[in-house]
């Protein structure tokens, strides 16, 4: 195994492990806890670059062997899946019963369910389906001291104790290793179509915000520069029953020169943040995503996320971060050169009170063996 493929910001682990079961994950994490060696948890690697360099990195734990759909209860619109299952494999299994997990993220062939949840991955579909954490109803996880725990359950409404599953969501593998997830599902829409229009960025941004305000849409992406193939493009995803989709498409077409594009083009657009070397994500107030675009970039209108691509100077990144933070947002360096990450940090100003963040980390991972240093706190 070429360990350099598992390097993070130039740090190469001394070994990699590929557990095939929750029990093996417990063994690995318990050993790390005992020996005080540090582990970084890998899924498909689409978002492994998000985070500061680990303060210590001995072992890479590749979760893709802990895979497979454990149980799908179509009549309950619920399934239980192992964390290393890719979104594409999950989708194929669920589609046999006409259902899906309504989370669209880059590269579903690589992205795993566990990694998607642990890294709070985002995509344009949040416009309709909101946050990935809202589609997880329970989990089994291994804490930093090797304790195997469950949270939540397999029912769609549940306030039986703390919702730890959602705390682990977005914790980037620093509190617990997710091994199994219970997911809430929806029926596959009868139709899903995509329309795109080209023009100047400002008028397309205004058009995008108008469409968002007046129509129920699945996704709304404004791309500029290279991400748009030059100029600017507004892409609209519509899904639902046939009659509803046809009506919404009609109303969209009445407002601009839209042409239909195929699913592959849509998925390529969704996948851009995982297929570009340099990516900064701006977290902003929903409705203002297009204000941070410059050069090659995409705004997932209505979701509060925009991605800025390509090499940018430290000064440019700092200026953009300053603008985002001044309005309560953030600029996260998702993919950056090691030098830039060291100079600017991944996250910018911390938001969670330091005492709480440190205490959560210390209690869920007492020896600091799960991806130490990657997340503030």
């Amino acid at each position: 195994m070429d360990l350099s493929a598992l390097a993070i910001d130039g740090l190469v682990p001394s070994r990699s492990e590929t557990p095939a079961s929750a029990e093996e994950v417990v063994t690995l994490v318990s050993a790390a806890h005992r020996d005080q060696t540090a582990a970084v948890i890998f899924g498909g690697g689409t978002r492994i670059s998000v985070g500061d360099a680990p303060s210590r990195y001995d072992v890479a734990i590749d979760m893709r062997g802990v895979r497979g759909v454990v149980e799908h209860s179509p009549a309950d619109l619920v399934c239980i899946v192992r964390a290393g299952t890719t979104l594409a494999d999950l989708a194929a299994e669920l589609a046999r019963h006409g259902q899906r997990w309504p989370v669209d993220v880059p590269d579903p062939e690589r992205a795993t369910v566990g990694g998607t949840i642990a890294s709070a991955a985002t995509g344009p579909s949040r416009l309709r389906h909101q946050h990935v954490r809202d589609w997880v109803i329970g989990c089994e996880a291994v804490l930093g001291d090797g304790t195997r725990v469950r949270a939540g359950g397999r029912v769609v409404k549940n306030v039986t104790g703390y919702d730890l599953t959602r705390l682990y969501s977005g914790s980037f593998g620093t509190l617990a290793v997710l091994v199994e997830l219970s997911l809430k599902l929806v029926a596959i829409d009868e139709r899903a179509r995509t329309l795109a229009a080209h023009g100047d960025a400002a008028s397309l941004a205004a058009l995008g915000n108008t469409l968002r305000a007046t129509l129920p849409l699945d996704g709304l992406v404004l791309a500029t520069g290279d991400a748009a193939g030059g100029g600017a493009a507004l892409t609209v995803r519509v899904a639902g029953g046939q009659a509803a989709v046809e009506r919404v498409m009609r109303e969209i077409r009445a407002r601009g020169a839209f042409a239909e594009i195929d699913d592959a083009a849509w998925h390529a657009l969704v996948s851009l943040p995982a297929r570009t070397d340099r990516v900064a994500r701006a977290a902003v107030r929903p409705g203002s995503e297009s204000e941070v675009l410059s050069g090659s970039a995409v705004a997932h209108i209505g979701t509060g996320s925009a991605f800025v691509f390509g090499e940018r100077s430290n000064g440019q990144i700092s200026a953009l971060r300053g603008r985002c933070e001044a309005t309560g947002g953030a600029l996260i360096l998702e993919r950056a050169s090691t030098e830039q990450r060291r100079a600017l940090g991944t996250w910018g100003a911390p938001r969670v009170p330091a005492a709480i963040a440190r205490s959560l980390k210390a209690r869920f991972d007492p020896h600091g063996v799960l991806a130490p240093g990657r997340l503030p706190g």
Binding site: V156, L164, P286, R351
Partner: protein, 461 residues
């Protein structure tokens, strides 16, 4: 601040069964005063129990041990509504319904709609992760809170989350929602608003019995159709509602589904047709649509005021909140009704059948029935739900009411993981002690607590 027994009396209880007087009740005006209350309580060595409107059903706001109640009744400002970002910033004492009322001018609404929404507060809704009929389509409160400002156990005022998504660091907001005041006191909330649907259709399907209605509900969900709301009312409920309101529900029906679909006209018409045909296939006697907004409002009024209507039957009642996988609803309902019958209680079922959230209501009279008997039947009902793969609570919370039953669902390591999160926020356990977690003696002076603890420990194995 209130401390005389006659002034603290109404703070001894919520809408559930447990009661105990607090040492004192403080009603601060803002986050700064709440912070000073928490600091003063800490100096005095007493615990702090936050309280909204007191409509809770699980004893979450009852003062155990030496505790002072901090009521949020004076924090009632809707600070702002941002129609573009679709966010309302509100104080915790704002009643749930007031948020939607204020948002309506912008074509928006706040989706969670617990039956108590006219009085229950946003702060209390956050504490219990409240739901309501429309949680079926839109999810519970946790899906609609973007950020909270909170007074922590040491008196610090901190903000978690934001209008912008996925800010750096741990996502504490969904941990705080549903934590029943054990992590701190929410002093401000940023709530997600949704656009009002273009079209709403409400209809009633009447069935000869509970089982056929439950089968229809399961079939609708299994088909992948998720209505905005789908409620079941059984015969006892139908008769009580008829007696209390001018709704003219058919008394020959054994059960009724109240179904609402929302969305574009094309979506609602398609879903309505499919739902009607599935109800008919499962033996519906009649399906009728609400023709006007007035008729729709009347049906929902009957649903949301159904519990007061049921209070006419017997002076006392005990409501449950278990959730079961949706496909198990018909069997679990049979078992629950059999338990009530065996114990000789009248039972009414009016509940969120679409998401499997049961609310069996045991009706009794404490002048002739004992609370021990009611709690025995209740524990049996919980056990049936848990054995079907369910949860103790869907929207009311655990509080004091079900904390001793937590180990029916979770192992010691699972509960200890929750305690780790608690300790990160409140290492000394001064925020609402004795709630959610099983064991501990802080609430042992409450007689009903002893009964439930005995049942929880005795019935498991």
């Amino acid at each position: 601040m209130f401390w005389r027994p006659e002034d603290t009396l109404v703070f001894e209880y919520d809408a559930g069964f447990d009661r105990r007087p607090p040492l004192a009740v403080v009603v601060p005006a803002n986050a700064g005063e709440i912070s000073r209350c928490v600091q003063a309580a800490r100096r005095a060595g007493v615990a702090v129990v936050p309280r909204g409107a007191g409509t809770g059903l699980s004893g979450g706001t009852i003062a155990c041990g030496d505790a002072v109640v901090v009521a949020t009744a004076r924090l009632r400002a809707i600070e702002s509504i941002d129609p573009v970002a679709r966010v309302a910033v509100v104080e915790p004492g704002v009643p749930n319904l007031a948020v939607s009322t204020a948002a309506r001018a912008h074509g928006l609404f706040f989706a969670p709609d617990p039956a108590s929404q006219r009085v229950s507060t946003v702060g209390g809704n956050i504490g219990t992760n409240a739901g309501g009929p429309h949680a079926l389509k839109y999810g519970s409160v946790v899906d609609h809170v973007l950020a909270v400002e909170m007074v922590l156990a040491d008196g610090t005022i901190a903000t978690f989350g934001g209008t912008a998504p996925d800010l750096p660091g741990y996502d504490c907001v969904p941990l705080i929602v549903g934590s029943e005041g054990t992590l701190g006191i929410v002093t401000k909330a940023w709530l997600r608003l949704l656009p009002l649907p273009e079209d709403v259709r409400t209809f009633l399907a009447e069935f000869p019995d509970v089982r056929s209605g439950a089968r229809a509900a399961s079939a609708i969900i299994a088909r992948g159709i998720v209505p905005a709301a789908m409620e079941m009312l059984d015969r006892t409920t139908i008769r009580a509602v008829n007696a209390a309101f001018d709704v003219h529900l058919s008394e020959d029906a054994g059960s009724m589904l109240l179904v609402e679909v929302e969305g574009l006209v094309e979506e609602t018409s398609g879903a309505s047709a499919a739902i009607v045909s599935m109800c008919e296939a499962e033996g519906a006697l009649r399906v009728r649509a609400a023709a006007t907004q007035t008729e729709r409002d009347l049906l929902w009024k009957a649903r949301k005021l159904g519990y007061p209507a049921l209070a006419r039957i017997k002076p006392n009642s005990y409501i449950h909140d278990a959730v079961v996988p949706r496909s198990k609803v018909p069997d679990v309902l049979d078992a629950v009704n059999a338990i009530a019958e065996r114990h000789g209680y009248t039972i009414a079922n009016m509940f969120h059948i679409g998401d499997g959230n049961l609310h069996p209501l045991l009706l009794f009279d404490l002048r002739t029935d004992t609370i021990e008997g009611v709690m025995q039947a209740s524990a049996e009902i919980l056990k049936v739900a848990i054995e079907a793969g369910g949860a103790l609570s869907g929207e009311h919370g655990i509080g004091l009411e079900k904390n001793h039953f937590m180990f029916w669902v979770f192992g010691p390591e699972d509960l200890e993981a929750m305690q780790r999160a608690r300790a990160a926020f409140d290492p000394d356990g001064v925020m609402n002690p004795g709630k959610i977690f099983p064991g501990g003696d802080v609430c042992a002076a409450i007689p009903t607590e002893r009964i439930k603890r005995g049942l929880a420990e005795g019935m498991w194995i």
